[in-house]
Symmetry: D2
Subunit: 365 residues, 4 copies
């Protein structure tokens, strides 16, 4: 591998997810943050002035004076992370890809495009090969990859090792989602003190019809054959700052015993972990044995890379399905910025960006 770092930028750098990108890129071994971009009002201002920092831990000192640029090609970098809202992401991301940039997007805009990979490095690294068709078909010098919605990410991460061995057929999930998932200011405190809101716009549709089936689907050259999995989802907003908790019931093609089930989680060692991607937690899935875990405040930052693991527990037989269990994961780290970042690391390891390609890695997917 070469020694120089790959220059990257953040689109939507002033929002909550944009700040997570900035935070996670600090001291990154492969990437160097060289461009901060945001929408109209912020352009031309120093980052410290344009951005109300909402994360614990301060804005990195050396970024205070960096001028926020417009979200247009011309940024001094090779790859951009997109924390843009869907409304503006659609066109902006295409313009960057057309101009030769790699785009790792957290927005939903292109997730369901046939030739755009919806990626979780542990789950479906081979989908990255859609980029060949994408570039060919669209005539782009660059490309767009996406990561799934925060609640999908942890659900599918927990299901993947089970699906590989036993074949997931049916999933019923009720999510209890943290407020940071709606950004800042996002959800009003008037709605979250002593309350739950049983509705999150668009969320159930993503879980039921769009994302798990694509993520667990089969790469077929220029598109993904969606997995034949039926999902029922109910999504709730709860008074928790970070960490989505999900109560899951699953029916399989072949019903595993409890030992087989736990073995699938415990011995899960997918490609991202084998490659040792810098942001890949070791292990990818943490199984808690206590009867009252995982819990958001105790487990959301779990993992060898903080906030990047998926935590599971409370495995019990299900009277209607085969098994039921509880999943927890950090929604703005692994479920958003960290997911995009790990995708970018996979792109590097497989040779789609920069020169750090791991010899032979692409052949493994």
């Amino acid at each position: 591998m070469g020694d120089s770092k790959i220059k990257v930028g953040v689109l939507g750098a002033t929002g909550a997810v944009g700040q997570r990108f900035v935070q996670m890129l600090q001291g990154h071994p492969w990437f160097e943050l060289t461009a901060l971009a945001a929408s109209g009002r912020s352009v031309g201002k120093p980052y410290a002035e344009a951005c109300t920092w909402v994360l614990r831990g301060d804005m990195p000192d050396h970024l205070h004076g960096v001028t926020v640029q417009a979200c247009e090609p011309g940024l001094d970098c090779e790859l951009v992370f997109s924390a843009l809202p869907a409304s503006s992401a659609t066109e902006i991301e295409k313009s960057f890809a057309a101009a030769g940039y790699g785009v790792c997007s957290n927005a939903r805009s292109h997730r369901y495009d046939a030739d755009v990979p919806l990626l979780i490095p542990e789950v479906n690294p081979e989908h990255i090969k859609l980029l060949d068709a994408q570039k060919r078909k669209r005539g782009w010098g660059g490309f767009i990859t996406t990561n799934p919605n925060c609640s999908t990410t942890h659900l599918v991460s927990a299901l993947h090792p089970l699906h590989e061995r036993f074949g997931v057929k049916q999933v019923s999930v009720v999510t209890m989602q943290a407020v940071s998932g709606a950004g800042y200011p996002g959800v009003s405190s008037m709605d979250m003190i002593d309350n739950i809101v049983p509705f999150i716009g668009g969320e159930e549709e993503k879980l039921e019809q769009k994302e798990p089936q694509k993520l667990l689907g089969r790469f077929a050259g220029d598109h993904i054959e969606y997995a034949d999995i039926s999902v029922s989802a109910q999504c709730m907003r709860v008074p928790v700052r970070n960490g989505h908790l999900e109560a899951v019931s699953v029916a399989f093609e072949r019903t595993p015993s409890e030992d087989e089930f736990l073995d699938a989680w415990r011995n899960y060692r997918p490609l991202a972990q084998q490659l040792g991607l810098p942001s890949a937690p070791q292990p990818a899935i943490i199984h808690r044995e206590e009867n009252n875990r995982p819990q958001p405040r105790m487990d959301r930052m779990a993992g060898s890379v903080r906030g990047m693991a998926t935590v599971v527990g409370r495995l019990r037989p299900d009277p209607l399905f085969d098994w039921k269990f509880v999943v927890l994961g950090h929604n703005t780290i692994r479920g958003a910025a960290g997911g995009s970042l790990l995708n970018a690391e996979l792109l590097v390891a497989l040779g789609y960006v920069g020169e750090r390609k791991v010899a032979g890695a692409l052949q493994t997917v």
Copy 2:
């Protein structure tokens, strides 16, 4: 009906549920609170000294000086409401029934006894006739009736009109339960700030195997034939003070259309409402049309009798079952003390207690 009120007592009067009984009995048109009983430490003390009042609204003035008695027969009343913990309820409640008292219990101790009614007046008033077998078999002058667990109460209340018309076969439910369900002090604030605990001891078993099937079962003389309904339950403790929210999916014998489904809820007018029991809310079920309701803080006190209604909303087709929806209800009012109180009112109306029997009412069940 006669004019004099029926004398009642409260067992476990110093706890959180006991206080709800005391509060709801204030100014009751049929009952007069004449005895407060509690466990060892409190006996002999004035109620104001023995009891740390935790409800909004003060302890009724005239009770401050009332001496707390032991939980033993000899109390000056005809009927006792039991807010005892299960550990002591088992024997104490039997001793009162044997001594000729009617017992309306919120404890789980006798709920699953074959000859003890587990009652929701709207749902299964005919089960009250188990009392004839119970008295005969046990040789008691009095009797024991019970109300279900708080999360069961609202789930089954919402299901009952559907079960009558369409036949409920399968239910998947995830409950998000308020902290008051664990009593006072109950759940530590260390566990509930910025957190969810995905475990409540014994709760899932009650919902899956014991209560819905008995409540929706068929009266068969000296026992109940359990309904053949399969339930999957996951129970979560959430940082909400009052009001259990439940995300429910249901499969029916005969799948209703959306109109048929809503019609079942909207035109539900069961016996308790027909009889005009004082604590029966009119209507029993409130359907909210907004896409983000019911919510605990907005809807838990709903109903013409505050906190006694079951509130439903968010009806949507379910990819795995037939329909999914959200249920909310107050856990310590309708789900505990209020449930017992409504049972007592039914007992009166049907002639099992006092002299206010509604002519012909028993024939209707």
Copy 3:
């Protein structure tokens, strides 16, 4: 008194405080709500469509179809309650007063104008006589009265009986203010879960320099001579939905004994209560004797008129001042809409509005 009700309107009827006005005017014995007005986007829409109802208890049915009007004179009413933001209140309120309407405003815009009464009916009813100078000076057919800021209202309500007897010289107060004080959506849930924000823009200035001194000042014909009281204030935003809690230390001209102090609170019976104004709680101040009261969730709705009383407790000697204590009051009821409403009732009783004047009442102020 005549029998017909006085027609009133609400300016800013779609916001959180506007909704409180609407809620409190339901079934009011003196006032009839005949006009709902709001800003640009809402004008012309039915109220049910223009307004996202955020209060517990539903929007009154008969208002659903009422068309929201613009905030301009021409409304069919005699008096308007203003729940406008300060930015638009300044000019709009003047235009209504000029057009002959009485204006009872919750906005801060005119609170500190020399000829505008800043009123708490229990505290300074005689300040209402400023209206004579106001009308004369401004040539208005109507007038403007204002109520103080929510945290001032309860602080000064608790101090008033003490000031009358012992002379308040110095006050140190730290407020812990509920999120509803910032309106809806107002404070982000990201800032209020597991957190306190030690800053509320403009609030400390109002408490230190502007409002207590005017409220406790002396009516001097065409202006108020401010009371000579020094106040130190620190204002905190806390994760409480409703109810401002304030920790207060006070030094007096003449130091009262504990008995004298408590007597002042307990035997407080100001004009508003003597007149029996419909929204005046009896008593105005509630003293709790427990060592852990008042508390927001237990005491914010206290009072014979729910949410209109000021609750005090924890009286203790202060090593630096004379005494210290804790004050609690509902911020959007008594501290906002209810304060304005009570002012309107005083205006009626004293003959400034309508024909319900209480004979001789004006002479008493």
Copy 4:
């Protein structure tokens, strides 16, 4: 310095503060944890079984099987950290000191004994010399030192550099204290959802009369001459998990300008930092310039040693005192276990424990 670590034990190792000791001793450069002791029920059990771990981050693996011992001399260590409740600490701590152990106690039992140092290493390291009188007077081979109460710690830490330069005369403080200060389970969630409790038993007395005056007092051979500072304190329990926020007003002997004031904080470099004690944060006091900081969730873990710094902000003139400001600090890290640990490090550096004495350090105090 020698290379071998000093053996230490934890008394009360299963409670919340005991767990913090265990957590902070992991990988400590000077101390090795060799004994876990607790009260009756836990004795003889493996630590993993005796202790319900409540901190984020798991119990260290190698301690799972360690047998919990009784709180009696005989533990294999030189120094014990006491996380005992005051009720049992009084006698147990004396028995350890008599048996030759050094005791660093977080309990209040001996804080106010004339010959027991109440220590904050940054504030009054010279008080450590009381140990000579203590040992002589009591005939002990060991000794007892104590750290102050959590709310005192951060208040006095913020005041110390000001006191040194300007002389603190009067302090008015309102504390907003996190629930973890009451231990686990501690405060009921029923009291902390949507609420504040304006009472913490014994807390105001410690702040007003006992601790700041001793901490800022003068070492006088065999006792401390208390500083002549008057303090008014009101203590509130708020729905925050960790981090006490305090609103402070101060009057000085000599009123500093704003620049002088800020300079005192910014250039504060007390002995603990000069000595480079392992748990001493650099700097000791962090000043935030934003108008809405410090906040518990953003700032409680601040500092080069996480949770050990005191964070200050919002400096403003005070109409009654000279200046007012806001202080925040972690209550179970710096305010409890971390305070005791830093005291132990000071004891080592000054030669009272072990052999790591910093040459000449004792002469500096």
